[in-house]
């Protein structure tokens, strides 16, 4: 039997689901190997019987958490889709301020007490609420990687996600290093798999696929020194997608570690 797949979305721009719609004719190949039983953005049909749940978006409210736990309990396999789900994405930028302060900035004095739609806490990635089996990184995800992961799962194999830096793919594309052009690129510490698409178009990497599990701290220190860049600039660059990688509690304070 073909595995039954259901898509779910939480706080996000829904751009990662859109990448799946953007597969065009290849969607037809996809539905050859899996049964799509729920995909609200494009279909009205829905079923609660599924094997693989693909979850997009961050978790921000108790009501979302409740829904996510239900999804987890029904699915054999759960995949986090896109940066909002895998690492919290840009939604985590606001975690640097207390939630009450952000709500005040945004809602001013609106009467939102007791309204569950507005009951918001600091942004969580999916794995901070339920166990995640596989990750499809990126903001947005890359269509090829999505196809690879789904194909592997349909064949009963374990999908492989790169754990080497974007620089590897960037070099392959024969780009001039953006540091040489005076830009601050997060390629050296960011997980590859995107084909270095941003640096290849002249834009520095923002780190949307998350920081490597073991970044080369020596190399980063050398870069900062060679190009006369500061820890503050590094931190500011990482505050886009990897806000909490610089949280001292986290233990991923790579630059500080390097400085010791």
């Amino acid at each position: 039997m073909k595995p039954r797949v259901a898509f779910f979305d939480f706080s996000s721009c829904e751009g990662c689901q859109l990448q799946i719609a953007d597969l065009e004719e290849e969607i037809l190949d996809l539905i050859e190997i899996v049964d799509v039983v729920s995909f609200r953005e494009v279909m009205k049909e829905h079923s609660d019987e599924y094997d693989i749940a693909i979850v997009e978006g961050s978790i921000m409210r108790p009501m979302d958490e409740h829904r996510l736990r239900k999804i987890r309990s029904r699915a054999k396999t759960l995949i986090a889709l896109g940066a909002c789900a895998t690492i919290g994405g840009v939604n985590k930028i606001r975690n640097q301020w207390p939630t009450e302060e952000v709500i005040k900035e945004v809602y001013k004095d609106a009467d939102i007490k007791d309204n569950e739609f507005f009951n918001v806490y600091p942004t969580k990635a999916v794995n901070e609420v339920v166990p995640v089996d596989y990750y499809i990184h990126g903001c947005p995800i890359t269509r090829d990687e999505f196809k690879k992961v789904i194909t592997a799962l349909a064949l009963g194999k374990k999908p492989e996600i790169p754990n080497y830096p974007v620089c590897v793919e960037c070099k392959k594309n024969e780009n001039v290093c953006l540091f040489e052009l005076g830009k601050f690129c997060l390629g050296p510490i960011t997980r590859a798999g995107c084909g270095a698409i941003c640096p290849s178009k002249g834009s520095p990497c923002d780190g949307c696929r998350g920081i490597l599990s073991k970044p080369d701290v020596e190399c980063v220190m050398e870069l900062l020194e060679r190009y006369d860049l500061t820890y503050e600039e590094m931190k500011s660059r990482c505050m886009m997608y990897n806000t909490e990688s610089f949280n001292p509690k986290d233990g991923m304070t790579i630059v500080r570690r390097g400085r010791k």
Binding site: D9, F10, S11, S12, C13, E14, G15, C16, Q17, L18, Q19, A21, D22, E24, E25, L28, I31, V36, F39, R40, E41, V42, M43, K44, E45, H46, M60, R61, D64, G89, V90, N91, I93, R94, W97, V102, I103, E105, V106, Y107, K108, A110, D111, I112, N115, F117, F118, V120, C139, P140, I197, C198, K201, G202, S203, D206, S236, M240
Partner: protein, 434 residues
Amino acid sequence: MNKDIEIGIEHVTRVEGHGNIVLNVKKGKIEKVQWQISEAPRFFEAMLRGRNYYELRTITSRICGICSIGHSLASLKATEDALNVSISEQTGILRRLAINGENMQSHILHVGYLALPDLLDVKSVFPLVGSKHNDSLLKVVKLHRLSNEMSDLICGRTTHPITLVVGGFSSIPSKKQLLKLKKNLEEGLETVKQLAQVIHSVIDKLPNFKRETEYIGLTSKKEYAFYDGDIASTDTGIFQKYKDYKEIMKEYFVPQSTALHAKHNRDSYMVGALARYNLNSEQLHKEAKNTADLLNLKPICYNPYMNNIAQLVEFVHNIEDSIIQIDKLIKNGIKDEKPADVKIKQGRGVGIIEVPRGILVHDYTLNEKGKCTKANCIIPTNQNHANIQKDMEALVPGILNETKEKIELTLEMLVRAYDPCISCSTHYLNVKFV
């Protein structure tokens, strides 16, 4: 007429984001009809505080997966306005191509993938595969791919563009690539004309409902406005003080929605393809005008369901316009320009453009270091929520005799006609009370 009806559609399907429809009828009397937005608020403007001017575009692009190019361009226009940066003619043309590509992508996704199933009596596009409508589906797929390939070429990527930067582009397409795109656009023009014939054959499935309302959008003497122009209303005419846009777009909070509502001259107004058409139809290119004639779209059209048709008409216009813009680029000679120089200064800037769902505003205040201290974004879908609510209130009494399923479908089709982008509309900020 003495019946009870209870409709609670949680998370309307085939729309972007989470919205609910609630209808309660007791003994033929309407007790509640409500368009609710339950999407979690995302606090974008709060997150922009303290960010460098060149990061604002990258962050605000993430408000919306479908109109990320539009958010990027409104963001760049606001930033450039604050910093007094002027862009080159070539950048202006390339940005028009970027808008055309996104408008095409979004419109064909909506008309073909999300709305067409209602007209063909199916629940999604999937049942169309291998059916007698297979050929129409393939046309939609072809046009969708064309739109995406165009955005990929101009912007580096369809969702969350890469090349759009303050002052210009980080990478510029070659003449060879543009000529290939032009050829594909010419083919696409023929395909969309055939698709218009298909829609023509099922057009009577669109409910014949009218409610007079106000339409707001950009207007320009030079062109059918998308990238540049003045704010205009079908009620009150042209408004030139763009930095005072809040005088036109009065946003307010309603408890049923995590997105703001908006009004101007009446209880509500509409933005988007139908609003633009009602304001600027004379400036459409030739084939777009022919498509409007074929599908019986005439200004002023007060039927919100015809927004689907206005989108198809604009799709044709965007193709024709893109061919003209590419010819201009080729004639001028494509230059490998670097983005314009930026001198950091303090100031406020406002960027207003038309995106697929209507008029979009980004408004930033930067400090002397070029960091953002205050931001406000006014999103098209927000501006439509009140109009959707008012339409529902006007529509429901006339369809109470129908079956529950038919009422549900008619209400869902109404919401879909607006092509709401709910993730976008719950970006949230600057709440005001009326």
